[in-house]
Amino acid sequence: MTFWERIYFPAILNGMRITFGHLFRRKTTVQYPEVKREFSDIYRGKHVLKRDDEGRERCTACGLCAVACPAEAITMVAAERKPGEEHLYREEKYATVYEINMLRCIFCGDCEEACPKEAIFLTKEIVKSEYERGKFIYGKAELVEPSDPARRIDISKRQTPEVLAFKKNKKFKHNK
């Protein structure tokens, strides 16, 4: 070791320069509940079960999201639509129970990819923390979007150009 290395002083000064340098930089963290970071438009957060333009539930309980789910977080029970319920459900079959276990869910988005009815989407909203595990099993009350047009959840940013092009193609009867 040379004399300069032996007195350590320049090395300490050099370290301090880096430390104090960081003090005056912009912080990478935010004070969460007061300040909220902006999310990407295609952030994969809490799910929403969409309604169509007339406010009817789109989900037909086909079970494709459940079979696509790698974490097996989705379960559902289907029922038949009765006469007089046409304004509530789009097709003759609907889900009476639709549950997602948010503790199992890994937010991969495979369910929205599997959905043939464009019923389930992941949103920017995040799943809230709870004190009990049971509260993480979200049912239809938490998942279905409000029928009030003003409170609808916009998912148009999540739809790929292919999906939007398909939606315009009214040649298909099933593609209403």
């Binding site: 309980a61 079979v67 003759e92 079959k93 040649k171 298909f172 009867k173």
Partner: protein
């Protein structure tokens, strides 16, 4: 009689059809069949999905047949050379046939109870096009009940006549048939008469699409969430050998045991099918084999096979099988 199908030679009895010869070989060589049912006399020749090319009619007459033939109704001749998947012409024709079959199909698979075990779904997945060439309205019929336990969705029907033959041959008094002709023809019970025969439930099993479905199972679950089990019971009317579709310890529905070609091994009676839904009614023999490719096998494992770490020599595995 020696027949060659897709370069595989097979020996069959005199008088059997090309489809039967192909089924003797098995595997991918077998043409798909939507209307032919080996247990029903006179079935076949309607859907045209089993079209094959005959490259050589027989050993004596080596000329090819001028058009594609329906393999379910063409008898074999000695020295016949048949092309199924090896002929691009056949694939092209089958694509067209699938388009025809889907012409009036509502494509309501997310709602349909048959989804997951539907022949038309498999066929359109294999050969169908993404788009339809027509803009015409599809024909629509109201959903009707045939008896207490069977639901008829005429929209989905492809008019294969299998259920009509079943009713004709299995039951002594046929109560349903095909009304009208051509594009407007439909399966119906005459003046909505109920099918009350003991074996009428078998029309559900023979239906290749979701036109005839079990009302006791209607919208209860999807087939891929259930596990098919072999089960039997003492029955005075039928053999009592069935497939029980279970979820945990609950029996969701009972069907006949289907073989590798999608045909039931034995027809079962209505009592076994519709009334015996309790686990105490049945003796469970064990799980049924599910094809690896089937959606029903999703998340079910028969045995855990470890992936080979060593890369196999090309062509070696095929030779082993």
């Amino acid at each position: 009689m020696k027949v060659t199908i897709d370069n595989i030679q097979v020996e069959v009895e005199d008088g059997s059809t090309i489809l039967q010869a192909a089924r003797k070989i098995g595997g991918k060589v077998v043409p798909p069949a939507m209307c032919y049912y080996s247990k029903l006399k006179g079935s076949g020749g309607k859907c045209r999905t089993c079209l094959v090319k005959v490259a050589q009619s027989s050993a004596k007459d080596p000329r090819p047949m001028p058009k594609l033939v329906a393999s379910c109704s063409t008898p074999v001749q000695d020295g016949m050379v048949v092309q199924n998947l090896t002929s691009p012409e056949v694939i092209e024709a089958r694509k067209g046939i699938v388009e025809f079959l889907l012409l009036n199909h509502p494509l309501d698979c997310p709602v349909c109870d048959q989804a997951g075990e539907c022949d038309l779904q498999d066929l359109s997945f294999g050969f169908g096009m993404e788009e339809t060439a027509t803009e015409d309205e599809r024909r629509e019929y109201p959903v009707i009940d045939i008896g207490d336990n069977i639901k008829l969705h005429m929209n989905r029907c492809i008019l294969c006549y299998r259920c009509v033959y079943t009713a004709d041959q299995l039951t002594d008094k046929r109560l349903h048939g095909v009304l009208y002709r051509g594009d407007v023809s439909e399966i119906s019970t005459f003046i909505s008469n109920a099918v009350t025969n003991e074996f009428s439930g078998n029309v559900i099993d023979v239906c290749p699409v979701g036109a005839l479905t079990d009302k006791t199972f209607r919208f209860k679950s999807r087939v891929w969430f259930l596990k098919p089990m072999n089960a039997h019971r003492e029955c005075t009317k039928c053999s009592g050998k069935v497939a029980a579709w279970m979820f945990g310890n609950e029996i969701y529905r009972i069907t006949g045991r289907k073989d590798q070609f999608g045909e039931v091994e034995e027809f079962i009676c209505n009592e076994c099918r519709f009334d015996k839904k309790s686990i105490s009614d049945w003796v469970i023999d064990g799980p049924r084999h599910i094809k690896r490719q089937s959606v029903i096998s999703a998340n079910h494992y028969e045995e855990l096979k470890k992936q080979s770490v060593i890369k196999p020599i090309e062509g070696f595995m095929e030779k082993q099988e």
